[in-house]
């Protein structure tokens, strides 16, 4: 389940941070259709933010058709973002596997590889989140 990290000094409205982080998770395939989002209570207990903020973020996601509330059960992911579809998975995995083999061949160990992958992912995250930041203050560009 996704865990939100709220940065109070970022200047980005808290509810937008939740929206963005959910979308990132969707883009990266960390959240798949059918996955359940944490309840408002779970989010605010972990982050100590106002419950209305979480509800507002979830409403925003719902309006964009990304999530769907199911009464009595929770809020569930309805569709994913980006291209991480199931058919691509096998090919990507094979490519990554070859790459990992090459990395070990050059003398990297497991931790180095993990660090490298995280670094690349982080860099990518920044690239994807930057436009959203600029759109901040109004509504999300994607509708």
């Amino acid at each position: 389940m996704i865990e939100y990290r709220i940065d109070r000094r970022s200047g980005v409205a808290t509810y937008q941070q939740i929206v963005q982080q959910t979308k990132q998770a969707l883009r990266l395939g960390l959240l798949q259709p059918g996955d359940k989002l944490p309840t408002a209570r779970e989010v605010v207990e972990a982050t100590a933010i106002n419950p209305n903020t979480v509800l507002k973020a979830y409403r925003e996601l719902e309006r964009e058709g990304l999530v769907e509330p199911r009464p009595g059960l929770g809020t569930f992911v309805q569709r994913s973002l980006g291209n991480a579809d199931a058919t691509g998975d096998a090919a990507l995995r094979a490519e990554l596997s070859t790459w990992v083999d090459r990395a070990f061949a050059t003398g990297l160990d497991r931790e180095d590889v993990t660090a490298l992958v995280s670094a690349v992912l982080d860099a990518r995250e920044q690239r994807t989140s930057a436009p959203a930041d600029r759109a901040g203050g109004g509504r999300e560009g994607t509708r």
Binding site: T39, P69, G72, G74, T75
Partner: protein, 327 residues
């Protein structure tokens, strides 16, 4: 969201037995040690009282066995010495009962200060009234239940002790009762006055605790007012029942009577006792206003009634004060 499914809230559990609940639990938790000490104290006092009463019997038996006589002749040194010692011992034992009763009369004031004034004032002094009153219990209910438990325990204990006291002094040996205890200060330590005096002291302590809301001044004020109360009772007691008046022949002062005032009768006129300075009163008839011993029991009940009215008044004032504090 799982808000629809509230975590099962344990409903009011079925509680049985005498387990204290609610405010009474809190009171019990806070006063159990003090109540234990007080109970042990009362039991020790009761044991001491019964022992002294027994000693008195022993001394009296020994004294009468000696057949002492103020006109005894013979081996003066032996008999008078033995009689004198036993007589002194008898008087000392009687005196110790007298003293015991006097101390016992002071105890309710200490308990009122320690078990009513102190906890209430301490709660206010540390702001804990804000804690208590923001629970689901009204200040009035808290106040009542906070005091009912110690009051109930003390009434039972003080009734037991003061009944024993009166038994020891009057009921156990009607023929040789300790009449000098009647009408005097120590009679406060006998039923039915003593339990009511205890209640009055608690009500007084509670009112003072609510008024001062600081521990030290509340303790001091409670003790001072209780002292004033004992003094006041002492002053008022003679007037609780009507005086009786009689004139008696020289030297024939009626026994079993508590003389309030007396003086010589000259030419059918009552003169004050000061007239004896220039009159040979021992040769004259005397008048006296007095209470007879038969009035002692009723007088204790009247005194109890006065204390009951006072207690009700103090409790009413305390509730009014409590209401003012929450306004």
């Amino acid at each position: 969201m799982t808000t629809a499914a509230l975590p099962a809230r344990s409903g009011p559990a079925v509680r049985r037995g005498l387990r204290p609940r609610g405010v009474t639990w809190l009171t019990w938790r806070q006063t159990r040690l003090a109540l234990l000490v007080v109970t042990l104290g009362y039991l020790a006092a009761l044991a001491y009282l019964l022992y002294q009463r027994h000693q008195l019997d022993v001394m009296q038996a020994r004294y009468s066995g000696l057949q002492c006589d103020s006109t005894t002749r013979g081996t003066v040194s032996e008999i008078v010495g033995e009689c004198g010692r036993t007589g002194m011992a008898l008087a000392a034992t009687a005196n110790s009962l007298h003293e015991f009763a006097s101390y016992a009369a002071v105890v309710p004031g200490l308990l009122g200060a320690a078990l009513a004034a102190q906890p209430l004032a301490a709660d206010f002094e540390h702001g804990r009234h804000l804690l208590l009153w923001s629970q689901s219990v009204s200040p009035r209910r808290w106040f009542t239940q906070r005091l009912v438990l110690p009051a109930a325990v003390l009434v039972v204990l003080s009734t037991a002790l003061s009944a024993a006291m009166r038994w020891a002094a009057f009921w156990s040996h009607p023929a040789s009762s300790m009449n000098d205890l009647a009408f005097a200060f120590p009679s406060d330590a006998m039923v039915p006055v003593y339990p009511l005096l205890t209640l009055t002291a608690i009500a007084l302590g509670a009112l003072v605790g609510l008024l001062w809301r600081r521990v030290i001044p509340a303790l001091g004020t409670t003790l001072a007012l209780y002292g004033a109360l004992l003094y006041g009772i002492e002053k008022v007691r003679p007037y609780l029942l009507p005086f009786r008046r009689t004139v008696f022949a020289p030297g024939a002062m009626p026994g079993d009577a508590w003389a309030y005032d007396f003086g010589p009768v000259v030419h059918g006129k009552d003169l004050p006792y000061s007239a004896c300075d220039h009159l040979a009163c021992e040769n004259l008839s005397n008048w006296t206003v007095y209470h007879s011993l038969s009035q002692f029991g009723p007088m204790l009940w009247v005194e109890t009634g006065v204390l009951a009215v006072l207690t009700v008044g103090l409790v009413a004032l305390a509730y009014r004060r409590l209401l003012a504090v929450t306004r």
